[in-house]
């Protein structure tokens, strides 16, 4: 069923009785050409592009729980392409361009809102680094503007400009960045993949791989054995646990990241704002809640919940840059398990095992990557070659000395 303004009107006048389930709930077949393990944003996007752009047939997405139960439904929804390194920036700009046409492509309202992101700089060095990053963004075809203090004062008068230690010196603004509705992204991709014939199978956990002579022939699941010509793993925080079953150790640690939402307030924050001296980022949802977050808790965790010291750290960061939020009450908070890689950048690659592919290491930046990750993974699956924008996102980049380390902190996942 195609959605349209006319359709909504018609349903509204007829008691909304004509809406149908958005995707089927099929039983798994015995075998597929492609099995995608993990029904998060990336897995569903991969299925969509594989079927729609690359003409893939006979595709299944296997999801352990329900669609959207992972990080795609837990993140703070920031979409941007403001990276500095060659291995990353063209990929994220491709993603932002896909975001800009996503709703038309999916015929689904993902509430993509290009309200802009402003990264604040608090020292001359940081301002210069942002100028450099802005240039890298412009070279990839993205937009970037360096704002001075007066321009920021006009845009966000509520910020703390007179902090003695961390004065606001400048800001890097990307106007095309913004936020999207996280669940709707999962649902939109799921619906489109389903319409293209993809079987989305929920409550189907992959528990192992069927291997023969170093080849992957399919997966063992809680719903039995399913054969596949190509198996594509895409399980974010569970990457190490799943790939371990194929005998692989990954350059990844799992860490918990928390997010927070305040009570609903009148519109006050124009876009996404990040504090450059502490780790704090904030936006305001369409319902009015301030959505914010900060650092990882810092230790390996699969708990999907964090601890109080980081709550204090995030909130004091917020108070330092935006003292007005001290009056707002916190409504809810939660955590998600991040696949933190050794250089802070992701992987979209073949594995050493024929027929087995891997996508992961998204750290806390994988939401914005959803469209490009799906597109490039579909490209890899369909053609067995890397998409040009993901050509550096390889599993063997560490042994080759080709890390993509935006922050330059080295092999320390909890610092990326």
């Amino acid at each position: 069923m195609r959605y349209s303004a006319f359709g909504i009107l018609k349903q509204g006048l007829t008691g909304n009785k004509g809406w149908k389930p958005v995707w089927r709930e099929p039983e798994p077949k015995k075998s597929y050409d492609y099995i995608i393990v993990g029904g998060g944003g990336h897995g569903l996007a991969t299925a969509h592009y594989l079927a729609k752009v690359y003409g893939g047939k006979n595709i299944a997405v296997l999801e352990k729980g329900w669609i959207g139960s992972g990080n795609i439904g837990r993140n703070t929804t920031i979409v941007r392409s403001n990276y500095g390194l060659e291995g990353n920036q063209p990929f994220y700009e491709m993603s932002l361009k896909l975001w800009e046409g996503l709703e038309q492509d999916l015929n689904y309202n993902a509430m993509m809102s290009q309200r802009g992101i402003l990264n604040l700089a608090h020292s001359d060095g940081q301002r210069d680094a942002y100028a450099k990053r802005g240039n890298a963004m412009l070279m990839s075809g993205a937009d970037a503007e360096l704002l001075d203090r007066a321009a920021i004062q006009k845009m966000c008068p509520f910020l703390n400009f007179d902090n003695e230690r961390f004065p606001i010196k400048a800001g890097l603004l990307q106007r095309r960045a913004g936020t999207a509705r996280h669940d709707a992204v999962a649902w939109g991709y799921a619906r489109s993949a389903d319409l293209h014939g993809v079987d989305i199978i929920q409550n189907c956990e992959v528990t192992g791989f069927q291997m023969k002579n170093g080849k992957c022939l399919g997966v063992q699941t809680s719903k039995g054995m399913i054969k596949a010509k190509k198996t594509a793993v895409c399980v974010a925080g569970a990457s190490s646990r799943v790939m371990e079953k194929a005998g692989m150790r990954l350059p990844i640690e799992s860490h918990v990241l928390q997010a927070f939402v305040s009570e609903g307030l009148k519109p006050t924050i124009p876009g996404v704002i990040t504090y450059g001296a502490g780790h704090f980022y904030v936006s305001q949802s369409d319902k009015g809640g301030l959505v914010f977050g900060g650092d990882l808790d810092g230790y390996n965790s699969y708990a999907q919940r964090g601890n109080l010291p980081v709550v204090e750290d995030v909130c004091s960061g917020g108070m330092s840059i935006m003292p007005m939020i001290g009056r707002a009450r916190l409504l809810r908070m939660w955590g998600g398990v991040m696949d933190m890689s050794m250089d802070g950048s992701p992987f979209i690659d073949k594995t050493g095992i024929e027929g087995l592919y891997f996508n992961g290491g998204w750290c806390y930046g994988g939401f914005k990557a959803t469209p490009a990750s799906g597109y490039c993974y579909a490209h890899l699956l369909a053609t067995d070659t890397s998409h040009e924008n993901a050509s550096q996102m390889r599993l063997d980049r560490f042994i080759r000395g080709n890390m993509i380390d935006e922050k330059g902190v080295g092999a320390q996942p909890n610092l990326h």
Binding site: R249, E253, Y299
Partner: protein, 95 residues
């Protein structure tokens, strides 16, 4: 989380910095055979288990000792805390 420091008793985890996998105690021989491969595994590859995990913590805001903490990554429960020095010595290292 409370880390029960072998010398100082129970301390708030906030006083510590988390480095990572305990295997980092066993630095490979840079001059040995397969040094590049061994260092790649040592620096970059991790077991990353869900469950019991042995990891290095540094008591930065305290006595600056390195500890090996055995902790559950699913429940955050801490089972055992040792001085990293003792762990290294028990493996035949001099310091």
């Amino acid at each position: 989380m409370i880390i029960n420091h072998p010398l100082l008793g129970p301390r708030d985890a906030n006083e510590f910095i988390h480095l990572g996998d305990e295997s980092m105690i066993d630095r490979p021989d840079g001059m040995g055979e397969h040094a590049a491969k061994n260092f790649h595994e040592y620096l970059y590859l991790r077991d990353n288990p869900a469950g019991k995990y042995r990891e290095l913590w540094y008591h930065e805001a305290g006595d600056r000792s390195w500890l090996v903490v055995t902790r559950d990554t699913v429940t955050h429960e801490i089972f055992n805390v040792e001085l990293a020095r003792d762990v290294a010595r028990s493996r035949g290292r001099s310091k």
